[in-house]
């Protein structure tokens, strides 16, 4: 712990408050970061410019499902893609207008609304940041589409990523809304009271996840990424009942900034709180 004289830090802080004059500020930033994230993003050499968000309220259309068939519901998949795209693009446009290099700590969420039928709000929210310096390896922090990078990593993860010589390129995602067939009558009768695998269910889940993950991967390829970190694979059935589920893969595509990716050896600590 730093030794602080009684008239050091608190004195400086109080003097700043005492000297605060209305409207004297020149460049005010807003942010959606926690204190830890804010300080770590600063330490990583970025400064927050502003909170950015984009949203879209979307009516998800209807698609007939066949009772006993495993199938992707492509109209619903398309809806989930399109609405997320709208929210993300609007958020990126706000960041672009601020002259940002990227957006960190993005949260992309869906909330089905209580009013109307099949109406959901898709919202993307994050903090636009600008690098104090361009990357040491040259070039710019923006991605190959000349757009600000986006990342759903927390400020802590972002710091670690930069330390290790990687930079985020963009959030990549893949979605697949899948209808899992109901069992046929004779099949469920045969299985009654038995512990058995239901192969068609297993297969359906495999298919759907594979589609979502391969779509995410192809988005990363378009960004010329080296890899994807922090992938989350969610399955959410929203309001479609038990047999229709969205499989959603999301992660941050990264590129390499330098050749060695060594970070300082972690110190072992024993926290005194839980």
């Amino acid at each position: 712990v730093t030794e602080l004289s009684d008239l050091g830090l608190p004195q400086d802080a109080m003097r700043r408050l005492a000297e605060m004059r209305p409207g004297q500020s020149t460049s005010l930033f807003t942010s959606d970061l926690s204190v830890n994230e804010f300080l770590l993003v600063r330490e990583a050499g970025f400064r927050p410019l502003g909170l950015v968000l984009g949203s879209s309220i979307y009516h998800v259309g209807f698609q007939a499902r066949s009772w006993s068939k495993n199938q992707e519901l492509d109209r619903l998949s398309a809806a989930m893609y399109h609405a997320r795209e709208l929210a993300m693009t609007r958020m990126e446009a706000e960041a672009d207008a601020l002259g940002a290099d990227g957006i960190v700590a993005v949260r992309l969420e869906i909330e089905f609304k209580d009013f109307g039928n099949d109406i959901a709000e898709f919202i993307a929210i994050g903090t636009a940041v600008k690098g104090d310096e361009p990357p040491a390896s040259g070039g710019s922090w923006r991605n190959n589409k000349r757009q600000p990078f986006t990342s759903d990593l927390s400020g802590q993860d972002f710091w670690t990523l930069i330390q290790a010589g990687y930079a985020p390129l963009g959030m990549v995602m893949g979605t697949c809304v899948y209808h899992i067939a109901h069992q046929r009558f004779w099949q469920s009768m045969n299985n009654l009271g038995q512990n058995v695998e239901i192969p068609q269910f297993t297969e359906a889940l495999y298919d759907a996840r594979e589609l979502a993950m391969s779509r995410m991967q192809s988005e990363a390829e378009q960004l010329a990424a080296e890899g994807i970190v922090g992938v989350q694979l969610r399955s959410q059935s929203h309001r479609w009942g038990g047999h229709t589920t969205e499989f959603f893969a999301i992660g941050t595509a990264v590129r390499s900034l330098r050749d060695d990716h060594v970070i300082a050896k972690p110190q072992l600590v024993l926290p005194l709180t839980d």
Partner: protein, 309 residues
């Protein structure tokens, strides 16, 4: 009990503050780690402080979007924009929105009064809550007043909803909380033919009217806190919560509107550096960035992101 005219502090609160000042006992709502970390940046707890107001909200204002009946509902007519409570004289819900804003502002102002009466320099870890008491609403702000080991006193005590340990981290890095800010608004949007058509469609489509409603609602409160922070002369604003609730109101036969209640809370922060030996008004102070190092906790501590949208 003498009658209270609503100005200053209620007699009971004034008596509690006087008692706290006379006594050497310091009370606080701080956790042990928060208290310890505040000590490390030269802030000592003075006492817990509260601000409270109970408001009867009887008259919400005329419901409705301000559009006259028939207007904007015919096929092909121009869409009616989403209207915030302060944007038009005719905007419905203005009395309601004003009452809520007054509730938050009064609770925070009374908290400030107690802080000033205690001779403290600021309040940390403020929780601002609203609860319903029958038809009335109670707004309560609770926090811990602190005094700085300093010879300079701020013009007005700082307030923040950040917990003590976060305040300590900020100050170590050269940022001091200036004021807790709240912005609230109610935005109303008339359901026009386009909205109804999109929401009732069988195909995939964005409901542009509702999107406009939520975008506009969030834009209003974001602009509001930014202005509040700029008026203070702060350098930044760190939001802790953005909430949005959309509800449907039926204002007349077959005529529906949508209401969005939206709020932002957070803390305005100001940047400071060490006092410069040449002149009091140093140029932009240099920032002392934190120096983190990587650690591997030996007990299961995983930091999690988890805040309200």
């Amino acid at each position: 009990v003498p009658d209270w005219d609503g100005r200053g502090l209620p007699p009971v609160a004034a008596a509690r503050v006087a008692r706290a000042q006379a006594s050497g006992v310091r009370t606080s709502l701080l956790s042990a780690p928060a208290a310890a970390s505040l000590q490390s940046v030269g802030l000592d707890p003075v006492g817990e402080v509260m601000g409270c107001i109970v408001e009867q909200i009887g008259w919400q204002g005329s419901l409705g979007c301000g559009a006259t009946f028939g207007f904007g509902s015919g096929f092909g007519s121009p869409p009616v924009p989403a209207i915030g409570s302060r944007e038009s004289r005719w905007a419905g819900m203005r009395p309601y929105a004003d009452a809520i804003r007054r509730g938050y502002a009064t609770a925070l102002a009374r908290l400030q009064l107690e802080v000033q009466a205690l001779g403290a320099d600021g309040v940390v870890g403020i929780t601002l809550s609203v609860s319903r008491l029958g038809g009335a609403r109670e707004f309560v702000a609770l926090g811990t007043a602190v005094r700085a080991r300093s010879t300079v006193r701020p013009a007005r005590p700082f307030t923040t909803d950040l917990p003590g340990s976060e305040v300590a981290k900020l100050m170590q890095a050269g940022w001091v909380p200036a004021a807790m800010l709240v912005a609230f608004d109610v935005v109303i949007k008339h359901d026009d033919w386009a909205t109804t058509g999109q929401a009732g469609s069988w195909s995939n489509t964005e409901v542009s009217g509702y999107t406009e409603l939520t975008q506009h609602a969030r834009a209003l409160v974001r602009a509001d806190v930014e202005q509040q922070a700029a008026r203070l002369g702060a350098d930044g604003f760190v939001s802790s919560a953005i909430t949005l609730n959309v509800s449907e109101v039926e204002v007349g036969e077959g005529h529906r509107d949508h209401l969005a209640e939206v709020s932002v809370t957070g803390t305005a922060v100001a940047h400071f550096g060490a006092a410069s030996p040449v002149g009091r008004h140093a140029k932009r102070p240099t920032e002392r960035k934190t120096q983190s190092f990587t650690v591997l906790p030996l007990a299961g501590v995983t930091p999690r992101r988890g805040r309200d949208l």
